[in-house]
């Protein structure tokens, strides 16, 4: 079935019958797991969990949840950190693009994206925590000669009750994601010419860009921005490392309840998951309203005709912000690398007292096995997602069978619905279906999360592709298949490979789906790293974080290098 679903150049008749089914198949791939998972969460939330002897529905779990004294703070933390991180990440992204797109420096920023994106969130969070903690690298580098401190000060820098460290960590990781999505979108808007026109009308670089390009760009990256918002509000691993703990954000607390030995707390966790879902929906609504407000202000600004500053001051600031975001992630990774080879390393020494390869020797053989599993799952999931995405988009092109028509929310469900809200239910569904935990089941579960990113990543360049090229190709005698294979896909090689790399990296980063659907039997570098993170052994975390980063980095490097290599003699393909 799967082999036949692949569009084969021959078998025109078969393709005609199968292609229209791809969007339907994809909708099923996305909705069945999320729906089954949500049902599996909703039932315990209203008090139905037969395995624990709870059969009668009721509002007990919600009453129990609302009686928890930390609820208000946990909700506030989820909402505030999510909204603040998203707004800041978007602001930094826009600042960088406004000042630097179409400059030579932008090439460097662009090249830095892949390594930044492939640093796993948890690893980046650890790196950041160790950089800025009172006993962290920054203080070590300055102590005791500058600070006079022989001991770390008792400052509440990480895990602060306002969630500032958490926001900082999220911003540092989401800026590269938004930049990547923006660059993909910019290639398809007529940004260069619009910005030039705006500058010719006397606007400063930034002001002109904001007026002429940003509105069009935002329309294209709106959904990735929503994903960032939903993710920032519900992230578990980063929040557990950088976020406050008294109380933690709601998502972390839900996972704690799910992990509590008192099995009855699973009902409260389910109720919490439902509330988390509602909170995400409310925050998205608020953001949406904010968009309208900003748009109104922006139009007033455009009408005012003010030209904005023309100096390079804003540019320097945005570059500093970008450098800070990138520097934090890369320096954090550097610190983890140092920890992976560290012997004892006391405060306030700026470096370990000795270097040793003991940690690598200890974890090396296991790592090779983990990387093979990780790569197999990620490669399969990303490839399947890419085939489905191309199938959906081609069906959209040929038959107008837009996945949008079936509800864009369906596509976003796996990204917008908190993982804690439907994965435990999904695990139950897999079990009920009698699936043996294994690579196939895990890959299928990853596909649910990988597909939306792949589709998002490929969808915009796909739709923005000049359809007149297809008309020309068909007037030259090419059939629909010929247009796809001979013109469209080759021209979209870069976006397709980027989409694959994004999917690969997303798969590499999955923790909860791997753990729950794999029944714990499928170990990847990420499950290993998070398990180690629970123990806080920085040496082991360093080794695994580097391995994880490498696993995600390789496809990005290929996605960048391959089109350059293949199209090295085609100047018209360099911007695509």
């Amino acid at each position: 079935m799967r082999a036949r679903a692949l569009p084969a150049p021959a078998g025109r008749g078969a393709r005609l019958r199968l292609l229209p089914a791809v969007p339907l198949l994809t909708v099923a791939v996305l909705t069945v797991p999320v729906g089954a998972g949500l049902l599996g969460t909703a039932l315990p939330a209203i008090g139905v969990m037969p395995a624990l002897g709870h059969a009668a529905p009721g509002l007990g779990p919600f009453r129990d949840l609302f009686a928890w004294p930390g609820l208000a703070d946990a909700l506030r933390l989820s909402a505030v950190t999510g909204l603040a991180a998203t707004a800041l990440a978007l602001a930094v992204t826009v600042a960088i693009l406004a000042s630097w797109s179409e400059t030579r420096a932008f090439g460097a920023i662009r090249r830095a994206l892949a390594p930044l994106l492939s640093v796993p969130h948890a690893a980046a969070a650890f790196g950041l925590a160790f950089l800025i903690a009172p006993s962290g690298w920054a203080m070590r580098a300055l102590s005791p000669w500058a600070t006079g401190m022989e001991r770390p000060p008792d400052w509440l820098v990480v895990q602060d009750p306002w969630g500032l460290a958490l926001i900082a960590g999220l911003v540092a990781k989401e800026v590269p994601f938004l930049l990547l999505m923006s660059i993909a979108a910019l290639g398809q808007t007529d940004a260069r010419r619009a910005a030039t026109v705006a500058r010719s009308l006397g606007h400063g670089r930034e002001a002109g860009w904001l007026r002429a390009v940003f509105p069009r760009l935002y329309a294209q990256i709106r959904l990735p921005v929503y994903v960032v918002l939903a993710y920032s509000m519900t992230v578990v691993d980063v929040a557990a490392i950088l976020g406050p703990t008294t109380p933690p954000p709601l998502s972390v607390q839900i996972v704690r309840w799910m992990n509590d030995p008192d099995l009855a707390l699973r009902l409260r966790a389910a109720a919490g998951a439902v509330v988390q879902l509602a909170l995400v929906a409310a925050a998205l609504g608020l953001w949406r309203a904010g968009e309208a407000g900003v748009a109104a202000l922006g139009r007033a600004w455009v009408r005012s005709g003010r030209r904005g500053p023309r100096g390079r001051g804003p540019a320097a600031l945005s570059l500093a912000l970008a450098g800070l975001a990138a520097g934090v992630v890369l320096a954090g990774l550097g610190v983890l690398a140092l920890w992976s080879v560290a012997a004892f390393w006391a405060f306030p020494d700026a470096a370990p007292e000795a270097l040793t390869l003991r940690s690598w020797a200890r974890h090396g053989p296991e790592l090779a096995r983990l990387l093979a599993t990780t790569g197999a799952i990620a490669g399969l999931a990303a490839l399947a997602a890419l085939v489905l995405a191309v199938g959906c988009l081609e069906a959209e092109t040929r038959y107008g069978l837009s996945i949008r028509r079936g509800g864009l929310w369906i596509l976003y469900a796996p990204l917008l619905v908190p993982q804690v809200a439907f994965l435990p239910g999904l695990q139950g569904a897999f079990l009920t279906a009698g699936t043996t935990p294994g690579l196939v089941a895990v890959t299928a579960a990853h596909l649910v999360f990988v597909f939306p990113y792949v589709f998002l990543s490929l969808g915009d360049p796909w739709r923005a592709w000049d359809a007149r090229l297809a008309t020309v190709a068909r007037s030259l005698g090419a059939g629909t298949g010929g247009v796809l294979w001979r013109v469209r896909l080759p021209m979209l090689l870069g976006p397709a490979l980027t989409a694959f790399a994004v999917g690969f990296a997303v798969s590499v980063g999955q923790y909860l789906p791997t753990l729950l659907v794999g029944g714990g039997r499928v170990a990847t570098v990420t499950t290993e790293a998070v398990a180690l993170a629970a123990g806080g052994d920085r040496r082991a975390i360093g080794v695994h974080a580097l391995a994880q980063t490498g696993a995600a980095l390789l496809p990005f490097a290929l996605a960048l290098a391959l089109p350059r290599l293949v199209w090295r003699n085609r100047r018209g393909m360099q911007d695509a």
């Binding site: 007149r468 297809a470 068909r474 007037s475 001979r486 021209m491 090689l493 199209w567």
Partner: protein
């Protein structure tokens, strides 16, 4: 063509009506373009000029629907997919495929009847020479000038041996001097091959240069 009487030859639009979903009519038209004749369609933006070409090409997409018949040399092509219609098209932009060399672009449309690598290469070289682009087969299209690219696009279209040619504002990207030369080249090649040409334009000079009938759409 068999049994077709001479008046059937060329491109004919019989009772063509383009409707939006819901039934509102965008345009209604009867038109016959004889072989070697250039018919100019003029009208303001939004009058449906490009939509008309899409209908003739067979690439009309929702929310539009086509009623009536399109025939080419007596054959009803209304339901045929674009690649089976034998209609070539040129746009304002050259739309050379950026991932292929100039020669590969031309070979893309070259009829399958031309067999053998050497024969196909020769056909491409000959076409390039005809358009003053001799020796450019191996070039990256992005390294050509605007005029060169348009000429390459024209030859690519002609190599596919169409039986009708559509032009969608084909010269508006060129400066005045090149525009004249390009017009002459396109009309000369099309007339030499006896192709019916349907041209959409908003430039009266285009219509005048074509020297054929002018159809006005919409309010204009």
């Amino acid at each position: 063509m068999m049994g077709a009487d001479a008046t059937d030859r060329g491109l004919r639009l019989e009772g063509v009506r383009i409707e939006r979903a819901g039934g509102a009519t965008l345009l209604a038209l009867d038109l016959a373009v004889a072989p070697g004749e250039v018919v100019a369609v003029m009208g303001p933006s939004g009058a449906g000029k490009s939509t008309l070409l899409a209908a003739v090409m067979g690439t009309l997409a929702p929310p539009f629907a086509l009623r009536g018949r399109v025939t080419l040399d007596g054959r009803d092509v209304t339901a045929a997919p674009p690649e089976r219609r034998g209609i070539g098209i040129l746009f304002q932009d050259d739309l050379l495929f950026p991932h292929l060399s100039v020669g590969e672009n031309l070979a893309f449309g070259l009829s399958r009847r031309v067999r053998g690598r050497a024969a196909r290469r020769a056909a491409v070289e000959a076409a390039l020479a005809e358009a003053g682009l001799a020796g450019m087969a191996g070039r990256d299209p992005a390294t050509l000038s605007g005029g060169e690219r348009l000429r390459a696009a024209l030859m690519r279209t002609l190599l596919a041996e169409p039986r009708a040619l559509l032009l969608d504002e084909p010269f508006s990207s060129l400066d005045q001097d090149r525009r004249d030369r390009m017009r002459r080249l396109v009309f000369a090649r099309a007339t030499a091959r006896g192709l019916p040409v349907l041209m959409v334009t908003h430039d009266p000079a285009d219509a005048a240069a074509a020297g054929g009938p002018v159809v006005r759409l919409g309010a204009g």
